[in-house]
Symmetry: D2
Amino acid sequence: MTVPDSWTERDGGIERSFKFRDFSEAWAFMSRVALLAEAANHHPDWSNRWNRVDIRLTSHDAGGLTQRDTDLARRIDDLS
Amino acid sequence: MTVPDSWTERDGGIERSFKFRDFSEAWAFMSRVALLAEAANHHPDWSNRWNRVDIRLTSHDAGGLTQRDTDLARRIDDLS
Amino acid sequence: MTVPDSWTERDGGIERSFKFRDFSEAWAFMSRVALLAEAANHHPDWSNRWNRVDIRLTSHDAGGLTQRDTDLARRIDDLS
Amino acid sequence: MTVPDSWTERDGGIERSFKFRDFSEAWAFMSRVALLAEAANHHPDWSNRWNRVDIRLTSHDAGGLTQRDTDLARRIDDLS
């Protein structure tokens, strides 16, 4: 299990922030992440403020970071 | 492979129309169908006009109706 | 009222097709169009088939093409 | 400017949490809130964790709570 360089490990999870031009672009990105998450049956803890999206991935059932998180992180990275 | 009663078989596919109060409700429904479709890696031919959503399910690669269509139809029915 | 070159006038409306890499990209685009439409309180007649989105704009209440259609068309063009 | 009972005033903003059956339902709700926000040109600070959506409304440009927040709060309340 390797954490992609683009993500920061913190408190048993990995985190990354994304910035866009406006809410519409941020929302389009979130819509794609939602598809990925549901397909993987693994969902992010995430927040949005206008053009900014902060994502945290952790495996709540496993009490920390697992391969499911790093896999989803890589798929999210592939979107941008 | 059984076609749910709520769907109509036509030209090698199954079809159903959905009506909602307004665009917002129709869009919320479509957003859930999009999640189902991507998770199943099987996508609808669909159209929307304000509060109305028309869905057609067929398996283009198989040239007609398959179990993937009736499975997705049932999952879509479960949303409403 | 000028129809953008990227759209085709037909039967009292204007139409344009969009193609994307996959469903996820098409869906992200549709999510942005949905925001535009709701903000303008003017909604498209549109359909989607995997990576393809076909949009038709017409003003049903006016029985044909109006400025609201060409305005929305231009905003949709600005997305791509 | 009246804060709806369903929202809690805190640090110059108002907050409310929403719980749903699963991610799909939460996402459908968020999709409708996104439409409201873009139409009002006023966007929430919000987070999602599977079936849970936490919304905070404040007017960053005004440095605190304004009518735009309570208006949007009421429209969000009308969704559920």
